[in-house]
């Protein structure tokens, strides 16, 4: 009788432990998926910011029309690629197209900033200062969102691959961290000495 109680008690304890392990895995999987959605949110934020930036800079950088147009084109390309990727999430082709479009936009924006360095009036414009803070904050957010995603992926993979979680990991597939695409070599910025 006593032995039966002990065996039953142990069985219940093991079952509870297994349930909590499984729930932990589910929670972590959801956490990393949510973290992925955050990256998307921040990328959209950048797309919304670029037109304002260009609008402000236009008045000061009249003879940098080429740079400004390239920035707008890169922004539109990234927005289109982002919509395509959102329509078919997880599809590798669309994802890599989005990543390279975003990489191109990043490259364009840093090139734009380098050019803007040479316009002291533009640099002093309060609107431009505010936009610059917004833009660098957005860049930070994108980086932090990726970092949070990668951290969440790591926690999830750790839980999935280490004992005893590995016993229950059958239906949980491994997640791959986000790797930043290195943008193609930036085109030179024309600055004369």
């Amino acid at each position: 009788m006593f032995g039966l109680v002990v065996v039953l008690g142990l069985a219940v304890a093991v079952a509870l432990f297994a349930v909590s392990l499984r729930n932990g895995l589910v929670t972590r999987r959801n956490a990393y998926k949510n973290a992925y959605a955050q990256i998307d949110v921040q990328l959209k934020r950048r797309h919304d910011l670029v037109p304002n930036l260009v609008e402000t800079a236009k008045a000061y950088m009249a003879h940098e029309r080429g740079t400004l147009e390239a920035v707008v084109a890169a922004r539109n390309g990234a927005a289109t690629a982002g919509r395509a990727a959102a329509a078919s999430p997880g599809e590798p082709g669309a994802m890599s197209a989005m990543a390279s479009a975003e990489g191109a936009l990043s490259g364009m924006l840093s090139r734009f900033m380098a050019v803007a360095e040479a316009y002291p009036d533009l640099k002093a414009n309060t609107n431009m200062l505010a936009l610059q803070e917004e833009l660098s904050s957005t860049e930070n957010r994108i980086a932090f969102a990726r970092q949070a995603f990668n951290d969440a992926v790591m926690t999830y993979n750790n839980a999935r691959e280490t004992f005893p979680g590995s016993l229950l990991a059958g239906p949980f597939s491994a997640a791959t961290p986000f790797t930043v695409e290195v943008p193609a070599e930036r085109e030179p910025v024309a600055v004369k000495f």
Partner: protein
């Protein structure tokens, strides 16, 4: 920062990783909760002793003592929890005089704060908390409060907004958000309530004492009065001991949660220097709050607001120096890539006022930050942006003589603002001593990496033109060019493939360099020959004869350096060290000598040897 930092013991290095640091803090918290359980058990034992003295010991009494203790502690804790929970995060912020921040605010300082908090919310995966600023507080401090992730509050003082840089503010906010993410406010509340529950046992003791005194006044012959008295005293002792132990545990938990938050802040920002910088500023400028009600919220603050009262066991925060030290250590860790780039300006400034070829230690960093602070801030700011760095490189080459300088400035392209910027920086440079100027150049190098290949080529051309415009090239001008060009050419070409491993094959080139250094240090032939002998000894070259001055002029050095660049790093290192030995042979190092050796080291891509002890 002040005093020397003690060396890190080897075993402590194992906690470098911020993930490991967080795990260790969480493990210790769990351990402390077990200790708290022990405190309750000790209390139950004391209560049992008290009851046994009244009713005699039996298993029934033991069960009664345990259940009674747990019941009283539970009830007391529940009562305290209800009382404490009424004040959420908003209440604490209001109590300290905080004003809510509009998230759409256009004020630059507040805008930055809002952005930094939102960034950190993204990094930590939390909802954005409500924001408050303590407008009347000039000290640097911050706190997070609130019992759930969804309804938390983060507040900073006006002093923090004014004095902290963006990275530093980010570190502070990340620390506070970690408290929110790990529910530290709730843990502290629970422990506080449990301590209140333990105190409730004393209350039972007091009630017993009262009834004992009443019963004994009624009937002096009866024993129960004395027994009640003993039991009451035992309850009071149990309660006092329990709540004391409970408090010690609560503060120990609070300190562990601070470590956890520091490590998590590094995880969120991947930049230990930001948080460490904020702590350093607090250490030097203070974090005390003016609000008379600040002590009530002391355990919530970023740094201990009320200082000097609690020490050791009864402190809610670890010592600030220790926090800085652990962060500095996490910066050495391989897991934190960002810190390497962050540390570079300081480190290279340290190397520029020649320091040893070894791992830079704390004293180097201190000297480096002293060097850094001696520069006019405008120059430092300029050195950090690509445009300013270009202008600074040009400004370093501008001549003192007005007519030469005018001609040089005309050579710089018009319309880009470069000419004006360079002229302005040059006027500031006159206040900087010559050895420090190369340190300034080092500071500007990382910004040059941001130039496109076109820009880099243009800058290289401009530097060459500037250096040659007065007809002669001084060792300083030559050094500036060498160092800047080496950096600009980084990654442009493939490094030379031929690897000469035998130093003997490069003796002619080594001799050229050594002679240049020897002649720069000593004007007389005999002195220069002696200096050369010291260097020749270092490369094992035997009795070398001094080359005539025109054979080791700056033009010849370029060719020799190109050839030497094809050798292995060990060979390059030996040659540069021999040059240093030559420079040091007469016990003092002239500016020309130091600049030449710096330029050789830069051109060959090796570290700079120590030239001046304590320079």
């Amino acid at each position: 920062m002040g005093g020397a930092i003690p060396p890190v013991p080897a075993e402590a290095r194992t906690t470098l990783d911020f993930f490991a640091a967080q795990e260790s803090a969480k493990r210790r918290t769990r351990l402390l909760v077990v200790v708290f359980g022990l405190a309750v058990a000790i209390d139950a034992a004391l209560v049992y002793v008290a009851l046994a003295s009244v009713a005699g010991g039996s298993p029934g009494t033991l069960a009664l003592a345990c259940l009674g203790t747990v019941g009283v502690v539970g009830l007391g804790a529940g009562y305290h929890a209800l009382r404490l929970a009424s004040g959420g995060g908003e209440a604490v912020a209001a109590m300290l005089g905080g004003t809510p921040v509009d998230r759409a605010s256009q004020d630059p300082g507040l805008r930055r704060f809002v952005n930094v908090v939102e960034e950190m919310a993204v990094a930590s995966g939390l909802p954005v908390p409500a924001l408050y600023v303590l407008e009347r507080e000039p000290g640097i401090n911050a706190f997070a409060a609130g019992f759930s992730r969804d309804r938390s509050v983060v507040a900073v003082t006006r002093g923090a907004l004014d004095h902290l840089g963006r990275d530093e503010l980010q570190g502070v906010v990340a620390h506070e958000l970690s408290h929110v993410a790990h529910a530290d406010t709730r843990i502290d509340l629970q422990l506080m309530a449990a301590v209140g529950g333990l105190t409730a046992i004393s209350l039972v003791g007091r009630v017993l004492l009262n009834s004992a005194s009443r019963s004994s006044s009624r009937d002096r012959r009866n024993d129960p009065g004395a027994a009640l008295l003993v039991a009451g005293l035992a309850f009071i002792v149990a309660g006092a001991l329990g709540s004391l132990l409970g408090k010690v545990v609560r503060f120990a938990v609070a300190r562990q949660r601070e470590w956890l938050a520091d490590a998590a802040a590094v995880q969120f920002t991947r930049n230990p220097d930001g948080l460490a910088g904020a702590l350093r500023k607090i250490a030097s400028e203070g974090s005390a709050l003016l609000s008379p009600r600040a002590p009530e919220a002391g355990h919530l603050l970023f740094a201990t607001g009320a200082t000097g009262i609690f020490q050791g066991l009864f402190s809610t925060h670890p010592p600030i120096e220790e926090r800085i030290r652990r962060l500095a250590r996490s910066g050495e860790g391989p897991a934190v890539a960002a810190s390497a780039t962050q540390a570079r300006p300081l480190e290279s400034a340290a190397l520029a006022s020649p320091t040893p070829h070894r791992q830079p230690g704390p004293e180097d960093l201190e000297r480096a930050s002293a060097v850094l602070q001696s520069f006019p801030p405008t120059l430092v700011d300029a050195a950090r942006a690509p445009f300013g760095a270009c202008a600074l490189c040009c400004a370093l080459l501008l001549d003192e003589a007005p007519e030469v300088r005018g001609r040089q400035l005309l050579g710089l392209a018009e319309g880009t603002g470069m000419r004006r910027e360079a002229e302005q920086l040059a006027s500031l440079l006159s206040a900087v001593s010559r050895p420090s100027r190369l340190a300034l150049l080092d500071l500007a190098l990382p910004a040059l990496d941001g130039l496109s290949p076109e820009q880099a080529r243009a800058l290289g051309g401009a530097l060459q033109a500037l250096a040659q415009s007065d007809g002669t090239t001084t060792p300083f001008e030559w050094a500036v060019q060498r160092i800047a060009l080496r950096r600009l050419g980084r990654g442009a070409g493939v490094p030379p493939r031929a690897r000469v491993a035998a130093l003997e094959q490069l003796y002619p080139e080594a001799l050229t360099l050594l002679c240049a250094v020897a002649r720069a240090g000593r004007s007389d032939e005999a002195g220069a020959q002696a200096a050369l002998a010291a260097g020749a000894l270092a490369v094992g070259g035997g009795a070398w004869r001094l080359l005539p001055a025109d054979r080791c002029a700056l033009g010849h050095l370029d060719a020799a350096l190109l050839r030497l660049d094809e050798s292995t790093p060990e060979v390059k290192m030996k040659v540069v060290q021999a040059c240093a030995a030559t420079a040091l042979s007469d016990g003092k190092v002239a500016d020309d000598e130091a600049e030449l050796v710096r330029a050789f080291a830069a051109a060959l891509g090796v570290g700079v040897p120590r030239l001046l002890v304590g320079g």
